[in-house]
Symmetry: C2
Subunit: 419 residues, 2 copies
């Protein structure tokens, strides 16, 4: 498999690699005695090694030239590691509190060395399944989204900087194509990779494939995904790309990073919270009916959007006379107009968010990659009930998104589904 | 001025250059005796030499590192010649009947050798001022726009090809920035470069600068221009970039070429026809009241859009099962849905066209670069009347464009202005 100096590492060869790499061994206090190395990649694509030594720790992520959860039959450029490292650095610079530091990047080896996000951090999705409340989640993730999206958009950047960065990230086309396929295409056609809770959802899956209005709307979202370079998006901001404790929130895994529509990130996050909501009935038991937790999820959805909105506008106001070239202060020169342009911008972004969020929900129910929120519900009939509710809400949201004016309207609509 | 091998040529040094360049001298039949060389650049940016010898002819266009009509005080990358040559070749490949052949390109010298578009070809704008009808104009220009825009969009291209090309043309950022400034910004603020028929239009120009709704709408168009890579657009498709005879139509000067919204090209052309229409009253005299000619312009506007629409849809149908990745045939798999997506696509494109067309009209009346259509009206009061009508129509069109359903509605609205 070796080619041009690339070789996949295992627990053993990784030690040699670290020894030979000062930027990594220094993070381990140059003390490499009795390193504990564990491969923990529970993700879909890559290999992740946790390396713990007596005097420090580090995480090593390596991309192989295929999709891990499918195997070598689905090749995928390992160059994605370059775009992951670039996005981690860029987003980390903009929002260091919520992005792990990159210690080392090796383009040949497609290998990133980064901060070990230590226990008790767990993947947010697992926390949501366990029914754990995260009181700072909305605050933190809205901060991450507002800062990374605002500062990489034309609200902050000159078009010169913007076009240079857009060109660079055009190189991540293979990962974009993966999204195009698994989010915007496969769920709407017969595909060998699709699956769902069969036979319960057979007719629901078919209904997705034969819904003309749904497919019309998905086409518009796909075009926006392919054509609109609005900001450097994470590109895979589901609840499996966030690690949390009670008071810490860390965003990992931006290997799909590229210049795309902001709503793709905000929608991914909110859409996955909505999935978590609809999965709760499947996790309810005698000890915990999850009613209170469901309310917490809905509250978190509202707060995430509202805080994102607020923080984004604060950044915009702060930099109104700055370098951004979308709204020149000499033109957008009175409070009434400034309000108008912000309202229009945020309204469009809200509708994009709902559309992309809904598309991300649908693909997790009838597409190739499902979410543990539902997969962990062992009773298939029960799982199918939860999934069907989520699917039918998502279809409605995708088609009717322009009718929603505020995030609270979305919540009302969720609550009315089974009141 | 020489730097890295670049030197501006004049009539004399050009002969030496041609002698040393086989791809050019061969076009002159290798017969360089008594060459006639004339610099004819009536354009705003570059130097254009017509070279005629006893056995052939060629046009040489050279970009200098500033904007010709302003002078060295407004620097502008001479690299624009590279993007002009690239776009000429790409568009020429897609539509050879309406784009001059490129014989030679010298990146160091920022110099393009191309087919001499011989007399009786004249610049379309001059023909419109002279009141000449071009019976094939709508047919030809709609063919050019449909083919160049369709084939460089995701309706024909894979996202792999698309992203590669988008990245390449991100390099033409300086020319994009010029458009951002002179089309989307300067007319809406006080700028040293703006001018208008003063004092007649003083309050009209001010009204543009204080119209909140207009500025809100212009912001949306500017964002689309900066962010949306829909197709390889010409980028400067006004009636001064088209050379015509009774039965030939040739599109020149795509130095602003980049991946942008299709409506920017279609709108530029239609907007400039509308300007030509509003200028006619200023060219009317006892011998010719221009009434019939005005009807011909309106008819040409209608036919251009309708033929463009028709040809674009024909191409789409032809390549429905082809390489384009926007609408996969397995998803968009029934006639009703295929109709729906086309209607939506063309409706959006129509509204973009009206918006960009209107913006291009406005900037020609109160911005830096005016059009000969109006400038040739020597009576300032009369000129101001024509311009005011055009301006007020354009403002309405920009703000109300989404209310128009067909191009004939636009024409009715023009006709009602002074009926
Ligand atoms: N910096 C880190 N610190 C701790 N654990 C991590 C870190 N990065 C990844 N992980 C663990 O590895 C898993 C897979 O990582 P991820 O970046 O999501 O890979 P993939 O691209 O394959 O989805 C995560 O779910 C998490 O459990
Ligand atoms: N290929 C050509 N054949 C004949 N005349 C041409 C040709 N290209 C340009 N010209 C003449 O030169 C003028 C300026 O050319 P253009 O490409 O529009 O330059 P600019 O970029 O400066 O606007 C045109 O208006 C036209 O009269
Ligand atoms: Mg992951
Ligand atoms: Mg990943
Ligand atoms: Mg020109
Ligand atoms: Mg010109
Ligand atoms: Mg030009």
């Amino acid at each position: 498999m070796a080619s041009n100096g690339f070789r996949p590492l295992d627990e053993k060869s990784l030690v040699e690699y670290i020894k030979a790499t000062p930027s990594l061994s220094s993070k381990l206090g140059n003390n490499l005695e009795g390193l504990q190395i564990k491969e923990v990649g529970d993700g879909n694509l890559n290999f992740v090694f946790i390396v713990i030594g007596p005097s420090g720790s580090v995480v090593i992520k390596q991309a192989l030239p295929y999709i891990r959860c499918i195997g070598e039959s689905w090749p995928m450029t390992k160059e994605r590691a370059y775009f992951e490292a670039s996005t981690l650095k860029e987003h980390g610079h903009l929002c260091p509190d919520h992005v792990p530091e990159v210690y080392h990047f090796d383009r040949t080896m497609c290998l990133i060395g980064m901060r070990y996000i230590e226990p008790p951090h767990i993947i947010l999705r697992k926390g949501l399944i366990a029914g754990i409340e995260y009181p700072f989640l909305a605050e933190h993730i809205s901060e991450y989204m507002a800062r990374t999206l605002f500062y990489t958009s034309l609200l902050y950047r000159s078009t010169t900087e913007h076009k240079r960065a857009v060109a660079e990230y055009c190189g991540n086309v293979e990962l974009c194509r993966l999204t195009e396929q698994v989010v915007f295409s496969d769920p709407y056609k017969v595909s060998q990779y699709n699956h769902w809770t069969s036979p319960y959802l057979d007719s629901d899956a078919e209904a997705v494939r034969t819904d003309n209005i749904l497919k019309l709307e998905v086409a518009g979202l796909k075009s926006m995904f392919c054509e609109r370079a609005q900001a450097l998006v994470h590109g895979d901001l589901h609840t499996g790309s966030v690690m949390v404790t009670h008071d810490s929130t860390q965003v990992i895994d931006p290997e799909f990073g590229f210049y795309g529509p902001m709503g793709f990130d905000v929608g991914a996050f909110l859409g996955n919270l909505i999935l978590a909501y609809f999965a709760q009935d499947g996790h309810a038991d005698q000890g915990n009916d999850r009613k209170v937790y469901k309310e917490w999820i809905l509250k978190t959805i509202v707060e995430t959007w509202n805080l994102f909105h607020k923080k984004f506008i604060v950044l915009w106001d702060e930099h109104r006379d700055g370098s951004g070239e979308a709204y020149l202060p000499d033109i957008y020169n009175n409070p009434e107009l400034q309000l108008l342009v912000k309202q229009k911008y945020m309204k469009d972004l809200f509708h994009d968010t709902l559309g992309f969020g809904a598309a991300k929900m649908i693909r997790r129910i009838v597409g190739v990659a499902h979410v543990e929120d539902f997969e962990a519900i062992t009773d298939a009939a029960k799982r199918a009930d939860c999934e069907r509710q989520a699917l039918s809400f998502a279809k409605m949201l995708l088609k009717e998104r322009r009718k929603f004016e505020a995030i609270t309207d979305v919540i009302s609509s969720i609550q009315h589904l089974h009141s």
